[in-house]
């Protein structure tokens, strides 16, 4: 009970810190998605005239938004989680605080902020008539949850590795950029060459982003698309937990 209260307090502080010194405060959670949607609409639809297959106009925005927001949640959560231990080096040397929380709190804090932002985007897209809110939405929620779980599991692995070698934190933005380009955010895998599409299926986020889109854009309920990513997430989480247990005990030696 006391541990939960501490975890919640840390999470509350994490959320406040994100917007502590800003004029608009937590309103940024609402402002950012509206601004980004407007920018995407202007750049992709008005300037570039982008189309994915037979999708044009608002459908392009919906397609992009359902890839971009989950990706941002994943990338931001992973980046914050990975730098959590090096960023809290002084605190780790001063007080006894569960180190797992130091990693998971910023990861989950970022995920929560992006989730709130995503909900607003979904409401806007729903009002635009671009989404189908049915049972497919639950598949989308599960896919979103698995994306966040992957970010948390990877953070648990990378955060101590970043303490051992700071190169991890330096390399991560480049890796994330490459990973983003290998995830079907700006393209539809169905429109790619077949062999290339199969290779991209090895990316664990591919299936999750596609299941999320299928659930919300077409109302599809195909749980089979989630089994492999869910299994991957489970294995990754187990491996990360085992590694973190060993690594986190030693990080103070390297900070």
């Amino acid at each position: 009970m006391k541990s939960t209260q501490l975890a919640m307090a840390l999470l509350g502080r994490e959320l406040r810190e994100r917007y502590l010194s800003t004029f608009a405060g937590l309103a940024w959670v609402l402002i950012t998605p509206v601004m980004l949607l407007a920018i995407y609409a202007f750049v992709f639809v008005e300037l570039l005239g982008a189309r994915f297959g037979n999708r044009v106009g608002g459908d392009v925005i919906a397609f992009l938004a359902l890839g971009m927001w989950p990706w941002h949640a994943f990338a931001d959560s992973l980046a914050r989680g990975t730098s959590a231990l090096t960023g809290n080096a002084a605190l780790i040397g001063q007080i006894a605080i569960p180190r797992v929380w130091l990693v998971l709190v910023p990861t989950l804090g970022a995920a929560l902020i992006h989730a709130a932002s995503f909900v607003l985007v979904l409401l806007i897209l729903l009002m635009m008539g671009r989404l189908q809110m049915g049972p497919g939405a639950f598949v989308a929620m599960a896919a979103y949850g698995l994306i966040v779980a992957n970010a948390a599991a990877l953070s648990l692995l990378l955060a101590p590795l970043n303490v051992f070698f700071r190169d991890v934190g330096t390399l991560l933005p480049q890796i994330l950029t490459f990973w983003m380009l290998l995830t079907p955010i700006f393209f539809d895998r169905a429109l790619l060459r077949a062999d290339l599409g199969e290779w991209l299926a090895l990316n664990p986020l591919t299936g999750l982003v596609e299941a999320l889109r299928a659930g919300l854009l077409h109302g599809q309920v195909d749980l089979n698309t989630l089994y492999a990513p869910a299994l991957f997430t489970l294995v990754l989480t187990a491996c990360s937990a085992i590694a973190a247990r060993r690594f986190l005990a030693r990080i103070e030696d390297f900070l």
Binding site: Q5, R13, L20, L91, Q94, I95, F164, E252, D253
Partner: protein, 395 residues
């Protein structure tokens, strides 16, 4: 582990990996990943054993770099021991560093809540005690200001107030109280004394032997990462101080001005029969006999000056054979001997130096100087150098 044992430290050691060279870092990380001892390392602590029962108070003393803070960090769960084990059966509240755990951008009130949660307090308990903490810290309206605007003393007050409200099973402080102003220090010490009276357990790191002797019953002296002495606080602190003073004396001896020209010199000294150049330990109010042999090149009887000073050089008492009109005993053509006795040495416990100077028979010129260390033991907490005879009168 007996139920009244709160803390058990068994064979604890700590090694930190050497990580500054790339190759060392790679090897150390590999050792960490494979869960084996670091090959390239610095040994900070080794073979530390002690137990602390509920209601006891233990001081950790030693030079800077002896490993005191590292040991405390392992007891608090901040660092992992490289060897041995630490078992704590109860709650612990550490005051290790100034402002530790405080977020500079948050107000004192916000930090009270977070620090209390970190100490294991429940939200309801914190709600009930917030005002008590604010009152104890004496921060007034500053309590709603960001902690980054606080002075060092204010941070200590806030930190101590939170710890005090937690009433932990084990209280750990590491010199942080030295930062606060005198009145708050007194308040903290009064609180610690009450906490101990009520059965609390204290682990204190301090360079102030006054605080150590005042607050603790036992002491552990750490020297270069090892336990040098462990036991009664007065015995251990006196040994520690004696060691310190020997170290200082050794340095001074190298700088000592030896004025012996060969005409008159101190040829031998025995303190209470001990003629070796090692500190002589004697209890307070004991007998002190000083026997000095002097060399006289021209055969004339020299004058002896005997002085007693504190280890830091503060003079306590000095007298000469010429002042007292005492002549030496001739023991050879060129040899003389003096014996001086202090029947009830009124020095307070501590380390002192007996300085012996050979002068010419006219008591004009100083020719030689030799010093010997004495350690006066006792459990007195009186302040100063000597016990002056006194009487209290009730008006």
């Amino acid at each position: 582990m007996s139920t009244d044992v709160l803390l058990e430290v068994v064979g604890v050691g700590k090694r930190y990996p050497r990580v500054h060279r790339r190759l060392d870092r790679v090897r150390s990380v590999l050792d960490a990943v494979l869960n084996r001892p670091y090959r390239a390392h610095a040994q900070i602590l080794q073979d530390i054993d002690f137990t602390l029962k509920r209601g006891e108070s233990l001081a950790l003393i030693g030079e800077n770099g002896a490993g005191k803070s590292t040991l405390l960090r392992m007891i608090c769960g901040i660092a992992e021991p490289s060897a041995g084990r630490v078992r704590l059966r109860g709650t612990v509240a550490p005051l290790l560093e100034l402002g530790a755990g405080f977020h500079p951008d948050y107000s004192g009130r916000d930090n009270i809540r977070m620090n209390a949660l970190l100490l294991g307090m429940a939200s309801t308990e914190i709600d009930a005690k917030v005002q008590q903490v604010i009152d104890f810290a004496e921060l007034g309206d500053y309590i709603d200001e960001p902690v980054k605007h606080y002075s060092s003393g204010m941070k200590v007050r806030l930190g101590f107030a939170v710890v005090a409200s937690a009433r932990p099973d084990l209280l750990i402080t590491d010199e942080v109280l030295a930062v606060g102003d005198e009145s708050f220090q007194k308040k903290c010490i009064a609180w610690i004394e009450e906490y101990l009276r009520e059965g609390g357990t204290l682990l204190l790191v301090s360079h102030s032997m006054y605080h150590v002797q005042k607050l603790c019953k036992h002491a552990l002296w750490l020297h270069r990462g090892r336990a040098e002495a462990y036991g009664d606080v007065f015995d251990v602190t006196q040994r520690y101080l004696a060691w310190h003073e020997r170290k200082t004396a050794q340095r001074r001896a190298e700088e000592r001005l030896t004025m012996a020209t060969g005409d008159y010199a101190v040829s031998a000294v025995a303190i209470n029969g001990e003629d070796r150049d090692t500190p002589v330990v004697l209890p307070a109010q004991a007998l002190l006999d000083v026997d000095v042999s002097l060399h006289s090149a021209d055969g004339r009887p020299p004058v002896l000056v005997v002085g007693i000073k504190r280890h830091d050089g503060t003079p306590v008492y000095g007298v000469s054979s010429e002042l007292d009109g005492v002549a030496p005993i001739r023991v050879g053509d060129q040899s003389y001997r003096f014996s001086i006795r202090y029947p009830e040495l009124s020095l307070l416990p501590g380390t002192y130096v007996v300085a012996l100077h050979a002068m010419d028979p006219e008591a004009i010129r100083l020719f030689d100087a030799v010093e010997r260390t004495i350690v006066v033991t006792g459990r007195s907490r009186e302040v100063g150098l000597v016990r002056l005879p006194h009487q209290w009168h009730r008006a």
